[in-house]
Symmetry: C2
Subunit: 401 residues, 2 copies
């Protein structure tokens, strides 16, 4: 193929390491003779529709290096769901700008976009190499061992639970219940990763609730009370997407719907609902943290493994596109053996687009309030070095007089 232009975009929620994938794409594109212009689309696919491209060849090496430790999506991102009638327009733009390499860094929806646009290109007989570069803190992409962004969010969540757990432990009877609401509406991977906070089996989080297992308010309250009675405090990791025994979200299930002064129904937060349930059972007000967007932007706690893999995914994407691949996503395959290692392969987007990979059964404990050793073995290498250890006083009692 003659020289042609490459365009790269970022889509969906940012992660702490998504700019590593962008920099990987740019670095590899700079190294490939077949690539002429290296364009960035501003705010994802919307930048293509509006022909808002920036020239990434003109960015300084220093900026690119610093982007590897900058959160957010440096090109701007988008949540626009591409409509069937948009694809012709998108391809028109690619034709007009001689864009034959399309690298899209994103999650499920974005992979669908990459797939669809590849199909339209085929129909119109336009040689386009469209490659998806996976990105999601939710870790819910199919056909890959895991996705860049997850390891860093997991490291942040584990550290946050360990920190907040020590704080809660010291409160004793004056604040024994702590809840943390963790992202992932349909997939509990990130909530499950909170288990990495534990150094012993008595450490927080004592309970972990994922969207994959229904949990009745009664059972949840009983679980929490039991832990409190046993340990004197109880730290709970709660997915934002947990559902009750009828499959109803906690955030809006009957009895927990909130109304403002005008009578409008307001969606109550999940931890607020759980706190209400614990209050009703124990007469103790639970405290909670909602780190929300800090989970996907806390670059200071990024996993070095994740940073490097996100970068590599960008590099591999360009390499494969130039070698003729299209309609595929960079897929992480874990090498067998005791040492953690990843092989980068390609997976068909038709198997990925709009799929949702939730937490597997063998990773959730029988009681539905924790994770298994298999899950720990899966997740541990992804967050990089062990979390820093904390100390507890030995507390040798002074004899009473």
């Amino acid at each position: 193929m003659a020289k042609a232009n490459l365009v790269v975009g970022q889509s969906g929620g940012p992660t702490a390491v998504i700019n590593n994938s962008l920099v990987g794409v740019i670095h590899q594109a700079l190294a490939e003779d077949q690539i002429d212009g290296i364009y960035g689309m501003l705010h994802g696919i919307r930048g293509v529709m509006d022909e808002n491209f920036v020239d990434l060849r003109r960015e300084s090496a220093q900026t690119l290096e610093q982007l590897r430790t900058t959160p957010g999506s440096a090109l701007g991102t988008v949540r626009y769901k591409v409509k069937p009638e948009d694809y012709d327009r998108l391809l028109d733009v690619f034709v007009k700008y001689d864009i034959r390499y399309f690298m899209y860094i994103g999650g499920n929806d974005s992979m669908d976009t990459v797939y669809q646009i590849g199909q339209v290109a085929k129909q119109r007989n336009f040689e386009l190499h469209s490659i998806g570069v996976p990105k999601t803190i939710d870790n819910d992409l199919a056909q890959t061992d895991h996705s860049p962004g997850y390891g860093s969010a997991a490291r942040f969540v584990a550290m946050a639970i360990r920190n907040s757990g020590y704080d809660t432990e010291s409160m004793g009877a004056d604040g024994p219940f702590k809840l943390m609401e963790i992202m992932g509406r349909n997939a509990g991977w990130l909530t499950a990763a909170s288990a990495l906070a534990r150094e012993s089996e008595y450490d927080p989080p004592h309970l972990i609730y994922l969207p994959e297992r229904r949990i009745s308010p009664e059972k949840l309250a009983a679980d929490a009370e039991e832990v409190y009675r046993e340990h004197g405090y109880c730290v709970v990791a709660v997915s934002e997407g947990i559902v009750d025994e009828n499959g109803q979200p906690y955030a809006s299930a009957t009895g927990r719907t909130m109304r403002d002064a005008f009578g409008h129904e307001v969606k109550q937060g999940v931890v607020e609902a759980v706190a209400e349930i614990i209050l009703a059972k124990t007469n103790i007000r639970a405290r909670f943290d909602k780190p929300s967007y800090l989970q996907r932007s806390f670059i200071q706690l990024a996993s070095p493994v994740d940073q490097e893999e996100a970068y590599r995914a960008g590099i591999e994407g360009v390499r494969h596109a130039v070698n003729g691949a299209s309609g595929q996503m960079i897929s992480f395959v874990r090498e067998p053996g005791p040492e953690y290692a990843i092989r980068y392969e390609l997976a068909d987007l038709s198997q990925i687009a709009n799929q949702e990979h939730t937490v597997s059964d063998e990773y959730i404990n029988a009681a539905g309030n924790g994770v298994t050793q298999d899950f720990m073995d899966y997740v541990r290498p992804l967050i990089g070095p062990p979390l820093p250890s904390f100390a507890r006083l030995a507390k040798h009692a002074v004899a009473k007089r």
Copy 2:
């Protein structure tokens, strides 16, 4: 004075560095010949009432060193408000255990406890050296330049705003409003510190609301809309204690009171109320972060200045007690001159107990939605080294075809 025992306790909300003060007390007590037993009270003053003491001489040097990077209050903390009738009982215990050095690490309420117990000791003619070691992320203690715990919480909040700000900036039209609820019910010091996130005047936080200035919902919404129109996004740092034009808390002001399905009044969160106000004005749903207890426990982002000062405050407390001081608190006095330096003095507890030092007028801008340069000069040295810088793409436009 003959050799006597020392007791140390921790009180109120933990901070990321409160264990540094504990270790400072222990290290200095170990060095003082006049001190015999070094006791820790479990869960603050409650440990005295219940005679729950631990022998801190038996803790290993390694544990003490590791406690300097461990959040929470290692001895356990307490929120119990001591009643007048308790003081005789407390002194009885001190007499029984020959405790003549009383070091209490805490905030306003705790300083009152130290003061009162000192008064009772005087009345009963018992030689007691009671010293307060300041601690509070709220920074609301009087008679001191600042308090240990504040610098680290300030560093966390600034970093969190910078991280979440880059995330928000990249969302563009798909999520332009970000609110962060910051601790400090009556004093806005910590919320004000969010301004440290800025590298340029256009950077987040664009608006800062403190409890010290009333702000009407109308003005707040107009402020936010104006920033959004000018910059394309708007990041707001909101104290949990902001009040409207009538002095009513946002969390419960009329029109924003929430009721659950049983009709019970539920206190709505502050950022939820602000989000509602912005939605009504702009028809855009604001996103928010509530890092809550992470603000006081995120040791990984502690200020090294704060860690060292918290440790020194513990050391100075014991030194002064052994030298005969009592009924006083370790006070931080800033040395004049261009280089930041602190001198440790003593301040009378009668001037501190139950006082609340709020943000001074000259630190708040005229519009009541930001801080002044004077405040920046005050706060900058407290968080230690500058925050790590991030990069933005230069975004050279590709000519349209």
